[in-house]
Point group: C2
Chain length 310, copies 2
């Protein structure tokens, strides 16, 4: 089992959905992905919080074996805040408010004990900070990065520098199209790979996710859920489950990447079943196993019975 | 090998895409689905055309073994026309014009020789006509129906009568949500099954397709294509390939339905690679085999390596 390093936001989220709302609940990309990855592997967290960040949230992470040595607490500072709203389709959030607060002056510092982590997830923060973290790592075996439309538009050159240095990128289809300017997803994905990463994790929300490499495509549907309460953190739980599994296996082969995508899919399915990380925290190894095998059954296909004349 | 009966539109389509346009090319749901199904099984076509419908299109179908005894030609009549436009996303067409013409007074008549067909595809026409065709069939083993938003809104009661009598329904996610009034796709699909069909073919365009039964879900991604020229007819090619394969195998078991979904996916992939049915007509058994096996490789997943403690 290897260590995972995660850098990203720790936030207070205010979320409105047709099924209810939550004020200032515990959130942020790093919180979700660390909670997800820590189910399988030791996690080092790098981030920044204000004085107002609830100690209880950090205690939950610590109890899951997450090292918080890299989490800076700014005296007198206010934590990052995000407010968003979902419609019935539960696909994309409309951002109502973003307050950077302590995030505005964040300089990530990776503790010495965490610099040797072999698996790294650069969650969605400004690409310059993602590069600063990479510069502090000794020799990671696999680095995965996330990003968003804002950085594609406003920090394109830095983002391209990140992509040139990572092994994998996690993006949704709109981001892939926006970054490349190519409407056809198949071609756009190939263009992303030409920028550096050897694999693209294409996040398609309720339609599942794909793993695209130079060798080919792998795709899984999402785990079918009759009740989706809050999609916040789904992509981060997906990435956290993905990288946590890779570290647990200690492999970066394509067959393992495929399995990791399934684990990420299952992890994300738990995340969206309740507000904040409430359901994610309840997820067990046995749940991962059961839902993984259900997903595998969902794509079981017998060979083609037509004659192969080629 | 069993026979397939298909009823639906034969049309002259005017299509505009970012990659070019075509005026009054051969189209219609029945044309696409009959061309697709005839690759594997004998097809009986029921439809209506005006005097202006090109004989050459019918000759192509006849050369593929499609029986045209059920195609009524209205003296002095004008054929059904549709005009639509696609943007770069190539997902949904915007309808620019619809002219029912001879379709307005269509009374489908199933020739005696076709009434025993065991596999039936009721393509997208008014539900009353779908019911009229069903009334003329002897004892089909499997009936699949298509529909559209217009009938869901304007012929809901008739459509529910159709659904109560078919084995499967082919619908996209917007139609499933519209018919049930349920935003969650997993629950909406279950509600469709409660209306009668034992399976739902959920068409998700570039995201692939799912087969949903009371026993579970099966899902495949779309076949990755770097060049999509014209999506017109994709759903009908999908359904035609699906039903043609079932008739070829002569089975309606779930494992066969899964294989049929893969064949339908591959058939649709050929359809969208060129305007009208140009690429679809070039599709061979060997192409079906090769792309099917590529799809199967795309969803290959090793067992979960976590311990099963349950």
């Amino acid at each position: 089992m290897s260590d995972v390093l995660i850098v990203g936001s720790l936030a207070l989220d205010s979320v409105t959905t047709p099924f209810g709302d939550r004020e200032e609940s515990w959130g942020g990309a790093a919180l979700y992905s660390a909670a997800a990855a820590s189910l399988l592997s030791p996690v080092h967290l790098v981030g920044v919080i204000g004085e107002d960040f609830p100690a209880a949230a950090l205690e939950v992470l610590a109890a899951r074996g997450v090292s918080l040595d890299g989490v800076q607490s700014v005296p007198g500072g206010k934590s990052f805040r995000w407010a968003g709203e979902y419609t019935y389709a539960m696909d994309a959030a409309t951002t109502l408010d973003t307050q950077l607060n302590v995030f505005a002056d964040f300089n990530p510092h990776v503790p010495t004990s965490a610099r040797g982590a072999e698996f790294v997830f650069l969650a969605n923060i400004t690409p310059v900070l993602q590069l600063q973290v990479l510069d502090q790592m000794t020799s990671p075996r696999l680095v995965l990065c996330d990003t968003m439309n804002y950085w594609i538009e406003n920090a394109r050159e830095d983002l391209l520098r990140v992509l040139a240095r990572v092994d994998g990128a996690a993006m949704n289809d709109a981001e892939v199209r926006q970054l490349t300017g190519t409407p056809n997803l198949c071609r756009a994905a190939a263009e992303i790979l030409s920028l550096g990463p050897r694999f693209l994790l294409l996040k398609k929300g309720e339609y599942g996710a794909s793993l695209i490499t130079r060798q080919g495509h792998f795709a899984l549907p999402s785990y079918p859920l009759p009740n989706v309460l809050d999609p916040t953190g789904a992509g981060d739980s997906f990435a956290g489950g993905f990288i946590g599994f890779l570290a647990w296996v200690g492999s970066t082969e394509e067959a393992t990447l495929r399995q990791a995508l399934a684990i990420g899919t299952v992890t994300a399915s738990a995340c969206v079943e309740a507000f904040s990380w409430d359901a994610l925290l309840q997820l067990t190894d046995q749940d991962l196993y059961s839902r993984y095998e259900e997903l595998r059954e969902m794509v079981r296909l017998e060979p083609c019975p037509l004659a192969n004349s080629g």
